[in-house]
């Protein structure tokens, strides 16, 4: 299994969604209120994952543009749960190895009085490898 295939399997596992159930009706995209902000749309997330084109999704910022409003999940007649797949793509991006999203030297500028210290610690853990 290639890395990409492993990642796809992982996405299916953590999302609990099955893209093979999709009948390509596009109702998810029709219902998406954030359509114009996203490069790729919910039906494309489903289709790309099903067809091994995860890399396209990983290169796009669409996963972060999704508002997780779940309109697509609610409307999908086949119970595919596109937003859950999108969430899993987001997690895959965030948890990627060797990518430091938060560098220790950036932290002092981020601290302000209202920010709980705990948040910084957990962000540091989550977004740093």
């Amino acid at each position: 299994m290639t890395d990409l295939q492993k990642q796809i399997e992982n996405i299916k596992r953590i999302s609990g969604a099955n893209p093979e159930k999709c009948m390509r009706c596009g109702k998810c995209t029709a219902a998406c209120p954030n359509y114009s902000e996203m490069e790729y749309h919910p039906h494309q997330f489903v289709y790309f994952i099903e067809n091994g084109q995860l890399d396209r999704l990983l290169k796009s910022d669409s996963a972060f543009r999704c508002m997780t409003c779940f309109a697509c999940v609610e409307r999908c007649p086949r119970d595919v749960k596109p937003a859950k797949l999108i969430e899993a793509v987001r997690l895959t991006l965030i948890r990627r190895k060797d990518s430091n999203y938060l560098k220790p030297d950036e932290i002092p500028q981020k601290i302000d009085e209202d920010l709980p210290q705990q948040a910084i610690v957990s962000a540091f853990r989550k977004y740093t490898k």
Binding site: T29, A30, A31, H43, D79
Partner: protein, 661 residues
């Protein structure tokens, strides 16, 4: 001791590729009673049957085991062959080594072992088989058709034309079904009423057909060839022998707010009404829920108006008992309720309608006299959006998992009719797939696109919202990979269809089966499409599965042929494998009577001689003509008195022993 011959069929390679047939043949010779065994390429072929017949004669066989396919396929074939050379047909048993063995196993050794075991069980049974003689019962030469849509009408006409009496029981005040509501029909666009009403009239006029409209079948007992049905004729509060159908009463009736069912609730009707101009029978009927007289005791205008003196407020439901040889179910369908599909705003917005409502809005006899007007403000819609697959092919609780089959075609029909009549109207159709298999169907749909300029968009609609007097439709265009937004005047939803809500009740009443979607189940999906699994019960029209009118009519005529084939017989052969209770063992406990689904068991007091002791006992008695041989009673009987001929407890135990040996 029996002299048993065992024949092992190869079924070409179906069996022989997975089961070592020679080994099975050898093993058979070691079984008690077996005097002959052979394997053969196709036992069901003429030469295969000849081999069996010759051996029966030469070896004087008293029993036969054929190891082959399912008894549902060829049990009858082999029994007939045995009978033709003097062997009682019930001395032949089938060991199913195809469906139960070769088809489901891969390993030859394992499959062969299992085939040997199945053969052994069948031999053990035949050793205990006894000759059985089937009784005969008379056939009542009349058929009952439940449901008077196009399916029921066609079936009844064909049966009547063949010379047999037939009754149609229709629950609505008129026959005609959904087809009576349609405007034009695909694929030829002829007017629905023009082709349907002559058939309705023919049915009413036919001397062999009796129509019980506004009636329901309440109870059915009996068995193939001899059913008894109780029909409830609901009170119309109008004497049908006097009413002339003039309709004067309907004009005078002051209560005019009842939703008009025939127009899908798009307008209202009076409390006393005639469903539509060509209704059959053309009789008035009072809806007591809307009638002022029934609510307050006042009014009585219709009674005063009616010159024929037909109004009868005291009329009561009538129960009629009739006997039938065959029953046809033709209870049809309804479009699903769309209240749970809030994304399309059907309940919230009057300008979001179903396709069936559109049929009424386009129909000259409909609420708008055939002019297409928006229900909300009665203006001409200039932009119309059709949404296909609403509630079909989905997996949410409100969805149906199947394709409703007719919607692609009627949506193409609707869009063409609208573009023809109102060329300045823009029409959009959102589709997931366009499914148009059928003679001239694809050509029909292409005409909508190519000749009539209907915009077909591949994608589904996700939301319909009211927006400044228009309907804002959010859809997706998957080929452009874009979300599209259309401000429409009218949205038409192709709602899924489902079997009539009475299907389940009817199936239970007739002891036949329905599938998970409540469509009645045919006896074989390919080879017996119009028979139910219960003898004497036949299926016609959409109650069996979604279909359009041409298919419905074809199936209706097919069902009629099956009925005629049955009614043409004076007597039918009963199943001899029926239950019997042993007088000396039965203690009259009634356990069997309680479980018998056919009401075949009764009790009688009878003097028995129990080893010299004479006494009168209450004993179970099975009516052999009614018993269907289901075996429920044999399991329920605590004293082991009840036994099923051909499947006795001893035989079953011998089979189990043979398997466990």
């Amino acid at each position: 001791m029996q002299k048993i011959g065992v024949f092992i069929c190869w079924c070409g390679s179906n069996i022989a590729a997975t089961v070592d047939v020679k080994k099975v043949a050898e093993a058979a010779l070691r079984e008690p009673g077996v005097v002959f065994s052979a394997d053969y390429q196709y036992m069901c072929s003429e030469s295969g049957q000849r081999l069996m017949k010759d051996t029966i004669k030469e070896k004087g066989l008293t029993g036969v085991v054929v190891c082959s396919c399912s008894p549902r396929m060829h049990e009858a074939t082999f029994r007939k062959a045995a009978e033709s050379c003097g062997l009682n047909p019930y001395m032949v048993e089938i060991a199913n080594i195809r469906e139960h063995c070769s088809w489901i196993h891969k390993d030859i050794e394992e499959a062969t072992e299992k085939a040997v075991i199945l053969m052994r069980a069948a031999v053990a049974k035949v050793n205990l088989n006894q000759s059985l003689t089937a009784g005969k019962s008379d056939v009542v030469k009349r058929a009952l058709v439940i449901g008077g849509g196009i399916a029921g009408i066609q079936t009844a006409l064909d049966i009547a034309e063949a010379g047999y009496e037939v009754d149609i029981v229709e629950k609505k005040p008129t026959i005609g079904g959904k087809m009576a509501e349609l405007d034009k029909t695909f694929p030829t666009l002829d007017c629905s009423a023009c082709i349907l009403t002559p058939k309705m009239v023919d049915a009413a006029a036919h001397e062999k057909i009796k129509i019980y409209a506004y009636s329901e079948v309440e109870k059915v007992s009996g068995f193939v060839g001899n059913f008894t049905a109780t029909i409830r004729k609901k009170a119309r509060y109008v004497n049908e022998n006097l009413c002339t159908g003039c309709g004067l009463c309907t004009e005078k009736c002051p209560s005019r707010k009842a939703p008009n069912e025939f127009n899908e609730g798009l307008n209202t009707r009076s409390a006393i009404y005639i469903p539509f101009a060509q209704a059959v029978p053309k009789l008035a009927v009072i809806d007591p829920a809307a009638c002022i007289h029934f609510k307050t005791g006042k009014c009585g205008l219709c009674e005063k108006t009616c010159d024929a003196k037909a109004i009868d407020y005291n009329q009561k439901d009538e129960l009629i008992e009739r006997r039938y040889g065959a029953i046809v179910v033709a209870t049809g369908f309804n479009v699903i309720k769309l209240d749970n599909f809030e994304e399309y705003g059907y309940a919230a917005n009057p300008d979001v309608i179903t396709s069936l409502e559109l049929e009424r809005l386009m129909n000259a006899a409909g609420p708008t006299g055939g002019t297409l007007l928006r229900p909300s403000d009665k203006t001409h819609p200039k932009k119309i959006v059709f949404v296909q697959c609403v509630g079909s092919r989905g997996q949410r609780p409100c969805d149906k998992p199947y394709c409703s089959k007719i919607c692609c075609m009627y949506t193409a029909k609707h869009s063409m009719l609208i573009r023809e009549k109102y060329p300045d109207t823009e029409v959009y159709v959102f589709y997931i797939d366009v499914r148009t298999p059928g003679k001239n169907f694809e050509e029909f749909y292409r005409r909508a696109v190519e000749q009539y300029g209907v915009h077909y968009i591949k994608g589904q609609v996700g939301k319909v919202a009211e927006n400044e007097g228009k309907l804002r439709v959010y859809g997706s265009d998957l080929l452009l990979n874009e979300q599209v937004v259309i401000d429409a005047d009218l949205v038409v939803l192709a709602a899924a269809i489902e079997p009539d809500e009475s299907a389940k009740k009817i199936a239970t009443m007739l002891t036949t089966s329905i599938d998970t979607n409540n469509f009645l189940t045919e006896a074989h999906p390919k080879l017996r499409p119009v028979e139910s699994a219960t003898a004497g019960i036949f299926l016609s029209g959409v109650c069996q599965g979604p279909k359009d009118i041409p298919e419905t009519v074809a199936q209706a005529s097919a069902a009629a042929v099956k009925v005629v084939g049955l009614l043409a017989k004076d007597q039918i052969t009963c199943n001899p494998c029926v239950a019997r209770s042993d007088e000396l063992l039965c203690n009259g406990c009634s356990a069997c009577e309680k479980v018998c689904p056919y009401g075949a068991i009764s009790y009688m007091d009878k003097e028995v001689n129990d080893h010299g002791k004479r006494e009168v006992r209450r004993l179970a008695y099975v009516n052999e003509a009614v018993c269907q041989g289901c075996g429920a009673c044999t399991v329920a009987c605590p004293s082991g008195a009840m036994d099923l001929k051909g499947f006795t407890n001893k035989q079953i135990m011998a089979e189990v022993d043979a398997i466990c040996r």
